[in-house]
Symmetry: C2
Subunit: 352 residues, 2 copies
Amino acid sequence: MTAAKPHRRLHVKADGRKLHLYGWQPHTLAPTVEIEPLPPPDPHSRWHPLRREWVTYAANRQERTFKPPAEYCPLCPTQAGGFAGEIPFEDFEVAVFENRFPAFHPQAPEPPVLPVETAPARGSCEVLVFTPAHRGDLAGLSQARRELLVYAWADRYVELLERDGVQCVLPFENKGEEVGVTLHHPHGQIYAFPFVPPVQQAAAATFREGPALARLLDRMGDAYTVAARDSMVAFVPPFARFPYEVWIAPRRPLPGPWAFTAEEAADFAALLGETVARYDGLFDRPFPYILSLHAAPKGEERTFHFHAQFYPPLRTAEKLKYLAGVEQAGGAFLMDALPEETAARLRAVAPR
Amino acid sequence: MTAAKPHRRLHVKADGRKLHLYGWQPHTLAPTVEIEPLPPPDPHSRWHPLRREWVTYAANRQERTFKPPAEYCPLCPTQAGGFAGEIPFEDFEVAVFENRFPAFHPQAPEPPVLPVETAPARGSCEVLVFTPAHRGDLAGLSQARRELLVYAWADRYVELLERDGVQCVLPFENKGEEVGVTLHHPHGQIYAFPFVPPVQQAAAATFREGPALARLLDRMGDAYTVAARDSMVAFVPPFARFPYEVWIAPRRPLPGPWAFTAEEAADFAALLGETVARYDGLFDRPFPYILSLHAAPKGEERTFHFHAQFYPPLRTAEKLKYLAGVEQAGGAFLMDALPEETAARLRAVAPR
């Protein structure tokens, strides 16, 4: 990214966890109240021999905060003398800190000896807070704030991928109670894995064979487009697995947000906002989704084509798409709605 | 299976769909009222190049029956002069018929030409009704009825796998509104796929390398056992992806229920009932789950080790486990609960 560079401040919290404050303005406030330390987490992973994937066990996560009332939101700024949240400052722009209830941890202990293969869950789980405001979404943020968020993602990718043992970094946002959100304050998460998860393994294998996504963008035509900018396009993939699934991809293959030009960063930020605005307008209600960023796992930078994926759980304003027998036990997705039709419906929404 | 052989009656419905009636008694009733025919279904599949899996589109499924009142249940016996359900007889034991809203169909048309690879969705979707009673579950059925059900599964496997183009057969039961059930009458479904779904592909690859499940059963010890019979064991796999996940497996590797001895069929039927009874007792409420049967895909019979898997969506009596960013966008499962602990809790339940 070549435009103006944001400021970053590192604060080490009382329990040793790192907090990064990203801002267009330098952050100079004094810390207020710190949250109390917990015992060190001790997650571990076990190999699932039939699915050929790692499953990660983190009993410490049973205690995680579950739908607190707004006045006890751990992601709101912490006032001097007030309730101790995760961010011990009275204001901030974008904040990223190590999760208090991590499933992966840089110092995860040796795993127990079990009748299956195990591995230490060494990696990292971070929480990324988009705004000090307790309510809102990506559509309601200013374009400057969304560009700051894109900068923060890029910065976290670079720092986490540089660590020994980290193989893949996955930023995501769970939005809405329908996808299990336990904290309503607008935020995302970033996982740094000591392995390449199955979804990223499959994509990397395809990209090693050829530029599958660039080829699709070339061939696809306008029927699948939801919104577009010069460098970037938001579209319903012709092989969508969820109704109203949307992807955002740069027109040229690039490995991750750290390789964005200033124009690409701005276009990506704008299309994130426009996609969420169209979603919120579709059924005239806050629209739940899982948003994930798919960048190159370590070593795949030459061929991987970065993109974002939105998975919405709604089929209609009230009906959910459930992942039941065929999806869960087979991994074969069934769809009632055709991507051509959902793309047209999303194009027809006037973003609010 | 070598014990007494049940009776099977084939009835072709007014719209041409096949209905099989399985019973310990011969079925001789005259048909009553037939459901009205629909236009032929036209599903097709599209290749997801980044996940390397087929996604199947069936717009005809948008019209499927959604939580009808009990008096319009399409799975209850159809009385003469009454509401026309799917089974045009006043009584039956176990019934299997071709789904009116199939995602795969033996005569699925050629797929449309699209900017992605497509394939005809040629296969079959069947509905398997466990009992004429509108309410109930596998725990409440008699052992004789459960053994009849196991016989019906075995019979469907054999008939469907013999068809040209069918590569894999997947029977499952979705139970409870939490997993999206739209019909409460106790029933399961059977999908016959023209491809091997990703989950079965991975398992088959592991079994080709060695007897992974037999080895696990040998090594596992009693800590993971929920219930056992001479030929069969119900256990929480040490790499469970859901809290209270349970598998039922024969102690000796065998490719599917069609290869069961009479003892294995009886033990499998009994453990299905006992597992569901323990589930219902765990939180003292009807316990939702996805049950799936994993038998050898075509050509994998020599090495595949058949087993059943239960995926329960509940973490506690009220809290659901959601599949959110990490699970959906990475395919990497996170667990709070240790299999050793959930197995002990299920062992401690007095089955009702």
